[in-house]
Symmetry: C2
Subunit: 102 residues, 2 copies
Amino acid sequence: MTFTHVVTFTWTGDAADDPAVVDGIAESLRRWIADADLPGLRSWSCGRDAGLTGNNADFAVVAVFDDVDAYAVYRDDPEHRRIIDEQIAHRVGQRTAVQFAG
Amino acid sequence: MTFTHVVTFTWTGDAADDPAVVDGIAESLRRWIADADLPGLRSWSCGRDAGLTGNNADFAVVAVFDDVDAYAVYRDDPEHRRIIDEQIAHRVGQRTAVQFAG
């Protein structure tokens, strides 16, 4: 049984106004995932909402792990926390997350 | 480039009070996915939030497709709409979705 983490964001401030800001967030996350030592991470992706419907959030991250312990390593990785603190936290309007076995 | 759909739910009414109601929703969705003809669906999972943090939504679905057209077939599948209409829609407190290329 794998363990899945999903999170959606709506953006405020410069992230809502300037696509380059969100591109910068995505690029930092992707670089971290590419370079990090995250055992038990099976898949990871993120992206800007495609705009198929007007009611959606703006951005999502999906990650699948071997188990909850692998998720916790990912969640608490110092580079992850740095990106959240420096590039994400102050730009979040709404954040909605779920972690589930499956 | 794949295409990913994520959706989170918070539940109201009987779904918030009775785990068996949410189990029934998950079972209907899983049976539909197992039986349906959904070309271009690469992976699908759903589950109840694991309760690691108090701020999360209650339930999520993650699906990965070959492309946006495969997602549209999934979204509009009559059995999907039936499950949404009969088991999900009236029990949703908040629903947050994102579809993204990736």
